[in-house]
Symmetry: C2
Subunit: 142 residues, 2 copies
DNA sequence: CAGAATGGTTTCAATAAGCAACTCAATGAG
DNA sequence: CTCATTGAGTTGCTTATTGAAACCATTCTG
């Protein structure tokens, strides 16, 4: 794979999931989609593109086809790397709720297992201060 | 604009920034890019596509061209909606750092204004519990 | 003012995406 | 066991998006 910008983790991430469909596939996987047709019907993506994206996501280690118990078809499952996109999906969802709906337009909200609305996800410093783009910098090197 | 899936905030968000370049443009804007050529040189994007993306981001209210002090060219600036993508960029960056570099491959890290590494951003419940895709659900309606 | 740099636009070829129809293996119903 | 159904792709064709390079109009710089 030729990275757009090998030195930037954001660019590497968008190389993997920065297209019209990949994140929606991951979203649906988190929401219980397992089979090719699940994904196809939920997203409405063209089937040849879905084939391509599932392969690409598998190649990058975000999903894997696991053998199902006998008599059942094998299904797609998120790997740890795939599940680890959860914070990305949540922040995107919350951004969408705040900025992609017009004033007063109803939209869904994310709730936890106690029925409470999930508060806005914000980057925090080790001491708990909320951080912004002006209070963070990239250190290259590690 | 015809949304891919009007009912899903994630889909609306990817409709706005779910392409190869938009998030990198926003990343660079957060990192100080102001002019057309700034963006072009930092991302390496084709200029006609950059024109298109800047317009699209402006149309969606993520950036705006603001008049600069007299004798200076006008520059692009992030709006509040654009700045509000910060948590998305950070979670994407952290995901990239964890999963888009091979074992032992050096990569940059994000540090705060005290020089401390920014801890992984995770969705938290109101009571502070970390949340995952299995402990959250979407409630539609509000 | 002349030349360079900036901020685009236009054109055109290459690539990717979408759509419909087709295949082919694995279930499932009778 | 046989035939219909469903799942998981392929293939071929059409449209949309991207990219490279050339072109043009402002805006600076000296």
């Amino acid at each position: 794979m030729a990275w757009t910008d090998p030195d930037c983790p954001v660019a590497r991430a968008t190389d993997v999931v920065g297209d019209r469909w990949s994140l929606l596939i991951v979203r649906d996987a988190m929401d219980g989609a397992r089979s090719f047709t699940d994904f196809q019907q939920r997203t409405g993506i063209a089937r040849n593109i879905l084939t391509d994206r599932l392969r690409k996501l598998a190649a990058h280690g975000l999903i894997a086809q696991v053998d199902a118990p006998y008599g059942k078809r094998r299904v797609y499952e998120l790997t740890e790397a795939g599940k680890d996109l959860f914070p990305v999906i949540v922040t995107l969802r919350q951004w969408g709720e705040r900025h992609a709906y017009s004033e007063g337009e109803p939209h869904s909200v994310l709730v936890d297992d106690h029925g409470e609305i999930v508060p806005p996800v914000v980057p925090l410093a080790t001491d708990g201060r909320p951080l912004t783009s002006t209070t963070t910098t990239v250190h290259r090197g590690t």
